[in-house]
Amino acid sequence: MSPTTQAVLQFLQAYWVELVCGVVIVAAVPLVAGYAVLVERKLMADMQARLGPMRVGPHGLLQPIADAVKLLIKEDIIPRDADMLIFWFAPVISMVAALTSMGALYFGPAFRVANDINVGILFVVGVSSLGFLGIILGGWASNSHYSILGAVRSTAQLISYETAGGLAMVSALLLAGTFKIRAIVEVQSQNQVWFIFLAPVGFFMYLVASIAETNRAPFDLPEAESELVAGYMTEYSGFRWALYFLGEYANMIVVASVATTLFLGGWLRPFSNVRWLSWLDFSPVLVLVALGVYCLYRAGKQPVKVQSGFMWAVALGCFAVAALFLTPWIFSPLRFALPGLNGAFWFLLKVSAYIYMFMWLRFTLPRYRFDQLMHLGWYILIPLAIVNVFSVGLALLLEMEFGWNRWLALIVTTILTLGVAAYLVHLNDKRGAAASAAVVASDSYAG
């Protein structure tokens, strides 16, 4: 055996878990993103009194695959005066950044790529923010006014909301006392409370900032279709466009995972330390069985044979997976996989809930105007985030130095923060009214 082969084998032996997890991420994220789009469309359709995609596959279930095929074989159009090199390169940056940052995430106590690096959460945030380079460069390289306006908007938005989002994260990091992702979750487990309850203001600000960072409605100005056509993506088509799209959805998963880790207790189930609620560990199985039963119930009501057959298939699939989940309970040598499975279930459930929140907001709210967005960022969120960091610090200080009850300290400081927030909103309203009055006044050109 040559030394090279040996080295490779050694390497594989040492890193096989990471490699497998990495491959799973790279392979699964496009699929997940595709189905996230389908879920989004279905949800939107449901809220808008219509059906959504129904043609490709039963209930449109194969739609993402059809879309992917379509995008792959679509004609690849590059504007004549585009900067070729950067035009090719930019979507890749977006995609790579989003996928790389997933490497440091823990999707469960066991599922991760990078070993617990001691700046884990910073790594995720820092690398995922690189995705904006892709947006800016792509917008610039397209050589189109719409694209460049979209890129400029997204840059300004990034700079404003990264700051607010970062400061909002600091409140949770102060409570956790570490950057390590695993340790952050473990601290929440030891304290028997998720940080969302200790730093609600921080969570809410992170929610707003993360919507803005992922360019989702109501902050989707860089790609506001009614104003800038498609913003920085205007000139992109086919697979390059798909890369951007994937990057965007992957980014959504990243911010949702960060929020879950920091504020929602990561892979912990609710009340993870309460013994008599241990039956919650069965919830993956319970949910799957419930889903299967529902499908069976609906199968009888389907008008077409194919559809009821499909319902049967889904139900059986659910039961099969539920049985798979049950095996560790029955077959004790497999018991080691249990925390991983349950953790992944709860983690993904929280991530989905967070993303559902995103989608729900998108269907409900109109879009902000750019100056309003900037006002919100600079006049409300950033000052409030700074105040919030101070108040959480103050609470910790009160607890540690003056022996206050932790809850009392946090409640007092949170109320303080909320007071500041109310004042800031009040100030902003006044300023906004004055500004729009000024626009009206200065706009006095004779018709």
């Binding site: 900067d83 950067i86 700046v119 910073l122 690398v127 380079l133 460069l137 400029v152 990264e162």
Partner: protein
């Protein structure tokens, strides 16, 4: 061995893209290659187990400063003025500086070879897992030994920020009047 592969990989990319950054005519391309250089240097930091430095490099330089660079390049067509800004002795001065820098590096390397362990290559013999977490180390040093320089730096940045705000406000007022 893996370590050196990683190092040479990143170092090679850093040098190559730095050279490309200097030689490209298109400002935007230069910026992109600068990003690549910075990223590969961040990679070297990581390889040295300086995670915090690595993340800071990415967040501050690539995520912050470079985005601003590109922002400015995008908004302002720098091509035209930059051509005219080139002064006559540019080549000469550049050569001189490069030469001086090269000599400096050479001297340091030679000195280091002569005096092993005297401040340049302090190699920790402890295994990786035993090293103290370097973000804590870094903050401890920063807030104890180097408190004054740190504070001076922050005041400097604050002054720059206030100055920028004042300039922007002043221009706005001038526009209005």
């Amino acid at each position: 061995m893996l370590d050196s592969i990683v190092f040479y990989f990143f170092a090679g990319i850093a040098v190559l893209s730095a050279a490309l950054m200097v030689t490209r005519r298109n400002v935007m391309h230069s910026a992109v290659f600068l990003v690549t250089t910075l990223l590969s240097i961040a990679g070297i930091f990581l390889q040295l187990r300086a995670e915090f430095l690595f993340v800071t490099q990415i967040i501050v330089y690539v995520g912050g400063i470079m985005v601003l660079f590109i922002f400015v390049i995008m908004l302002v067509r720098l091509d035209v003025p930059l051509h005219q800004m080139r002064f006559r002795f540019q080549r000469l001065v550049a050569l001189l500086v490069a030469f001086a820098l090269g000599v400096e590096v050479l001297v340091i390397l030679l000195l280091a070879r002569k005096l092993p362990g005297a401040g340049l290559f302090v190699q920790s013999t402890a295994p990786v897992s035993k090293l103290p977490p370097n973000s804590e180390e870094l903050s401890r040093t920063l807030f104890s030994n180097y408190l004054l320089p740190f504070e001076i730096a922050s005041v400097l940045l604050l002054v720059a920020m206030v100055g920028a705000v004042v300039m922007a406000k002043g221009r706005k007022r001038a526009d209005e009047s």
